[in-house]
Amino acid sequence: MKKLICAFLALIMALSLAACGGKEQATVSTDGSTSMQKVISALGEAFMEDTGANFTYNATGSGTGIKAVKDGTCDIGLSSRYLKDSEKAEGLKETILAIDGIAIIVHPDNTVADLTVEQIAAVFRGEITSWNEVGGSDGEIVCIGREESSGTRDGFESITGTEEACVYKQELTSNGAVLTAVAENPNAIGYVSLSSVKDTVKAISVGGVAPGEATIKDGSYAVQRPFVLVTKEGAALSETAQAFFDFATSSAANEIISAAGVVPVN
């Protein structure tokens, strides 16, 4: 019995020792878009593993991230939109890290194969309620989207200009759930991250352009937005921040970026 207690105590001591370690480290801080959380966290983790440097990410929103770079309170800003000309005039520089493509999906039996961005917006606002208004069969359109805090929803609504105006029949919490719901309902339309589309649903073309890595990269597929790294023009980054910047924009990071569900551009 004593042996058992000894072993128990030894285990506890070993565990408490393992919890120690770690010292003052070089840090790279990022701040901005909540939509970029998945991709930037994955990059940050890989960077920390490779170099041992510290990596921080503040999920505040693109606007706040851009401002933080301007004020110098973070190394690299994260924005899920292009910089405005006024922001560029203030000495900020944009580097596109990746492109987030959002596929518009319908049931495979749906005869509608193409919608314009305006039609998609009208459908989700509830202005077009039947498939026959857009060239399909009779049937009330069922809009399926994501929960309020989703980055994909934020992206879809900002691209189509339907913020706070969408009338959803279902608000699901993952790409997979949206896929299943759309695959089950012949009248459904939904949106998911392009990388998660499966052949249980049909991804329609938008304005005549089918979604795909090529059409997203050349900019012809409309339902997309850039993930931008924002830095200060002319001002040098710290050594660690520069190392992270180089790593994130190198082709070595492509696999990590793809795994996070977006299209790498470098």
Binding site: T34, E148, S149, Y168, A181
Partner: protein
């Protein structure tokens, strides 16, 4: 001899420690929920929070009214009881009083199995079978609705209702039933006039247990109810208290996140009430 005593003390100490850990967790969670949940409620205003009809935390003018969730949770649970309690109750009476030993064994095993199925599986089957089924039967554009959630919850609470009711019915002294039969009552009269009233506090406890399970379920409900913050209506997509918390927690921040803690606090109070009711019924049984 001496080492034996030491050993006993050590074991006693370990058991006491483990017991205290459980108590500590309950206290910790309670305190944490209250501390995290109160500020947002104060900031939004208790009245606006509990009785506001619009939930739109991501809007430029955010609204934090949780009345749709509270009502959906209550209606959904009530609907599950309306469907589940009769089925569970009569199953329990049949298994306890009428069924042959073999049938009872097999069906009890099936009920236990039903209790062991993870809620995500209920949700998945509901999503693939029930939701399209409701759409077809009622000619709706979409089947994800309060009704679908009620049916899934009704099935999920069956095991607790059946098992606890059987235990209560089995515990009715055989003399009661023998006396009733000797006085010329039929077996059916005996079950419903003698056995069931004698076991009523146990059956009530079974129902309360079912309520607890239904109101706390998140995963299965989220997958079949559509998860839109509408005021509840049978064929509309709705969001429960539980699913409001779980669907927002991933990315929410600021007041939105604090409001989710407030929702959790409201849910916690509901469950405390149900537990209090359960204790009340169980005490009644002992008396």
């Amino acid at each position: 001899m001496k080492s034996n005593k030491l050993f006993e003390r050590v074991v006693h100490g370990i058991f006491l420690l483990l017991g205290l850990v459980t108590v500590a967790f309950v206290l910790l969670i309670t305190v944490y929920l209250v501390v995290c949940g109160i500020p947002a409620m104060m900031e939004i205003g208790v009245w606006n929070f509990l009785f506001g009809k619009v939930w739109d935390p991501a809007a430029s003018d955010p609204k934090y009214g949780i009345l749709p969730f509270v009502l959906s949770s209550i209606y959904g649970t009530a609907g599950a009881l309306v469907i589940g309690v009769p089925v569970g109750f009569f199953t329990a009476v049949y298994l306890s009083k009428k069924a042959s030993k073999r049938v009872k064994e097999w069906m009890s095993a099936a009920v236990s199995l039903l209790a062991g199925i993870p809620s995500v599986v209920y949700g998945l089957v509901g999503m693939m079978v029930l939701v399209p089924g409701i759409r077809e039967i009622f000619h709706l554009p979409d089947g994800a609705s309060l009704l679908a959630a009620m049916i899934v919850l009704a099935i999920m609470i069956l095991p607790s209702i059946i098992k606890v009711s059987i235990t209560a019915l089995d515990a009715v002294p055989k003399e009661y039933e023998d006396a009733s039969l000797a006085l010329g009552a039929t077996p059916e009269e005996t079950w419903f006039r003698v056995s069931v009233p004698a076991a009523k506090s146990g059956i009530a406890a079974a129902v309360v247990l079912g309520v607890g399970r239904a109101i706390g379920e998140a995963m299965a409900v989220m997958m079949v109810s559509g998860n839109v913050a509408n005021m509840p209506s049978l064929f509309e997509s709705v969001r429960f208290l539980t699913t409001a918390v779980s669907s927002g927690m991933g990315y929410a921040d600021g007041l939105y996140r604090e409001a989710l803690f407030s929702i959790a606090l409201v849910l916690f109070l509901f469950i405390m009430l149900i537990n209090a009711a359960l204790n009340f019924f169980l005490k009644g049984e002992k008396k």
